[in-house]
Amino acid sequence: MKRYSFKGGVHPPQNKNTAGLPVVDMPLPEKVYIPLSMHIGAPCEPLVKVGDSVFKGQIIGDVKSGLGAPVHATVSGKVEAIKVSTNAAGQNTGYIVIQNDFEERLSPDITPSDKAPEEYTIDDVVSAVRKAGIAGMGGATFPTYAKLQSAYGKIKYLIVNCAECEPYITVNHRLMLEHPERIVNGLMLLMKVFGLSRGYIAVEDNKLDAAEALESAIEDPDLIDVCVMETKYPQGDERQIIYALTGRELTSGHLPFEVKCLVLNAETVAAIYNAVIYGMPLIERYVTVDGDCVAEPKNLNVRLGTPISELIDYCGGLTSEPHKIICGGPMMGIAQWDINAPVIKGTSSVIVFSKNKRKRFSFNPSCIHCGRCVGHCPMHLMPNYLYAFAKDGQLDRCVEFDIMGCVECGSCSYDCPADVPIVQTIRAAKGKINEEQRARKAALNKTFVVPEKEDESKKEGRRVEH
């Protein structure tokens, strides 16, 4: 069988320890902490007050204008507090704390759609997806309705991303094995709405059983193509999937529809189906809990807003002192500083590493010019030189060497024998460059009053807004 792949990438140990463990429903938490921002875009404004009684699935926060996705109460109960606190990325976000009454009262707004499957239009889907608050569940958390809307009428390839190239995470694998019909139905629905005669599901070849499960769930094999890809990190990156399947190269800073593609995560597709057909908002997701100091690694079905400490407790607690708690995969996930941080829409896994999994950092890393990062970079950059320029503060040379093309996958740092923090330094330099550009723009606007030109991306953004 043909294996689709891309140039570059690395092979970290997969550690898919939980692949054989069925997803179990986690007991409902006492309290949920719903962040008002768990997506890319503007944070939500709270729509409830302290003391209000809320239904499960009720919208409790929404963005007034601009890109964003509403947030829902994930349990029924009483709003205990609305507070501002620091999230994992170090930004201040609002949280709505709901005390669970364990009655599971479903919001009366949630009604199954009465339309026949053929009758859905893009507007139905977009409004249902927006209302359900769906954001990219692979970890990027880009509001899905905006993605669908901007891609409508422009795409030829609709791809469901089941690659799951990050080590440890097995939630997509379990979803494919246990509920392949959710992915297939979701894809069929979207294909109808987009007027496509063919859809693609991309699976890495370490999950051949899942590919088989999908194939047996597909009624008409002419409609959906299950594409088996080489197991390699970062195969699940949108750009690499598009390249592997279609041979089209998408530069960073551009959107997939510009190469006539739309890539959606497996869980996102399942959530879209639930939202459109049953009107069900995104209030729960699958989470892999794993790592060398978790007593019993598990795959859990968790309500959003559940503190990760409860997930760890449910998995038997910790066997040794933790060193790092990572939400998301170990290659791109965010290290948490608070064990009570809640599960959000993009949390595909909670990984706890003990001290013996500690990444060695030398205090005096010295690049030995081995060129591995250059060979591994999926964006075909020269990370070693980017690091050298960034460390030296030569930001203009960084730009000249396409630093903004970096997707921060971390393949360079992973395989660096000299322990050079390549991607970390590049990330910091990118932040500085963005800041400088903003400052320059602001200064320019102060000096001259120039009517701002509308470029393509802005127009796109506005269309998305209404």
């Binding site: 190269e249 400490s309 933790p322 290659m331 064990i339 030995i368 020269m382 030189y385 992973y414 024998p417």
Partner: protein
Amino acid sequence: MNTKEFNKALTVTSPPHLKNPETTHTLMFDVLIALIPASAWGVYTFGFRALVLILLSMAASVAFEAAYQFFMNIPVTVKDGSALVTGLLLALCLPVSVPLWLPVVGDFFAIIVVKQIFGGIGKNIVNPAIAARVFLFLAWPDHLSRFTSPGASLPLFANVPFPDTVASATPLAALKTGDMPADDLFDIVLGNVGGTIGEVSSVMLIIGGIYLLVRKTVRWQIPVSYIGTVALLSFVFPRMEYTFNFVALELFSGGLLLGAIFMATDYVTSPVTRSGRLIYGAGCGIITVVIRFFGNYPEGVSFAIMIMNLLVWYIDMFTRPKRFGGVEKNAGK
């Protein structure tokens, strides 16, 4: 559980949180392991004195590195093994008859002048062992061009340059004067000829090279393009009529294999791109052949590698990979 206490134990870093266990240290020790067969053959052929020279050179380069870093008050990095590799490589490209102080002077030049003054590991612009060999060769040419016959076991301490030992013409020196070497091709490949300690046995060097290729410590591009270029040029422009034999002699005698497998492939002083490595290897091959054919010296490997070392930045820039992407290109499809 006490959350506050618990959170204190957590470390927050920027991803990735995983790391390939390979380090500079393991890569350098791979090179040392790969050099064991050639070194062992050198000791077997040239006797106890060869072993003393090797160990002395390795010890001296580690000592110089440690001393420099200690007195400069910077972290001592001898544990990474790069100084050991430099010391070993330098000893392997010296004849066994050199005085014992010579490798120590060479190590001083390699470690202090070429490596540490430029900023330590990763910052040097030419390979320290090669630069030190060139330095010694220019400073004490007679010491470095007197080769003893294999099997002639030299005393450890005696009046250098050992007037009573048999001097041996290396195969390359014979080629330079326009003669076919007296040695059998089989002896040359096996290493039963005169030469420096480490370069004589092609078989042992190739074994080491295969080890490095299997471990992926060294990628194939540089050795293959270097040796391939030398083979091609020798085949197309033979210096004498026995074409096949001549090509084999050019490949298996002198320092070509030692240089192509172990010295030209030094990470620090070779290009980072695949195509760049091919160009770099080919450049080394062309310069080596030009020096061997037209130059005054019988051997040109160290000069060739040193010259190409200086061009690495330009080769990297010339072969800079094309950035992933190009929406314009595909937009119409």
